[in-house]
Symmetry: C2
Subunit: 159 residues, 2 copies
Amino acid sequence: ERRIISGIACSDNEAKISIIGIRDEPGAVAAIFKPLAEAGISVDMIVQDVSKDGGLADVTFTVDKDLLDRTLKLIKGSREKTGFKDLISDRNVIKLTVVGLGMAGQAGVAQTMFTALGEKGINIQAISATDIKISVLVQEKHQKEALKSLHAAYGLDKR
Amino acid sequence: ERRIISGIACSDNEAKISIIGIRDEPGAVAAIFKPLAEAGISVDMIVQDVSKDGGLADVTFTVDKDLLDRTLKLIKGSREKTGFKDLISDRNVIKLTVVGLGMAGQAGVAQTMFTALGEKGINIQAISATDIKISVLVQEKHQKEALKSLHAAYGLDKR
Ligand SMILES: C[C@@H](O)[C@H](N)C(=O)O
Ligand SMILES: C[C@@H](O)[C@H](N)C(=O)O
């Protein structure tokens, strides 16, 4: 069975932050991330879906766990400017990433990942994929089982 | 001024699909993408944010424009199984991607992209970023101006 992915990675040093209800208008996310960029805080995963209700959108992203408190402080500090509705954070997440090989047959790469997690009852909290790279956030407690399931699903557990 | 990105790409052959209100429980997205994977339809960008209200989540993704109708048909066809609330699609989008170099100073890469678009009044519809790669969806009509602004923002317009 030929390989369709080049690797599976797991990052457990990330914390998730969700900013709820930012204005869906030009410049809104730029204003959100400005204080973070100025503080030199690197953001890893970023997920923002289209807005539906009343022109408000949400954005979820991850930063290193040890930068969480500082990041939350900066976001709250700029609330007057950015005007969001709610702020949620969670330290107990891991980011699982699968990288495809970009060959024919890639249609199944994301599907295989989602199925491998779904079948083990592991809930996917967020998905960020572009091209051949797919990242998902799940609860930290699932780490061992998630990696085992992913390796098996992609045929990487054969020795 | 040193380069902080390795490239800017624009894909104008993509159509956006948003599936609104899928159950936020294990296996839900797997069920959504199953018929697409079985039909050999490759999905490029995928964005799914955390759910807030009543355990329902949305997922937005892109496929080649010429596969849009077929994809919508397949999604509607499996609605009994997957049970979503709404289905929205849009052909008039382009995907802009910036790839960072993964060096120190990466904190500003996403910020620079968002600011470059925001300042030109270009609205960001969706964001999918992981590690050094950031992709956003904007309206097709903004293509020329968006690329011009991004090249200038990253100092790639100097000759
Ligand atoms: C929601 C946010 O992405 C907004 N549309 C912006 O362009 O900044
Ligand atoms: C919403 C969707 O991602 C769901 N949580 C799943 O795991 O499939």
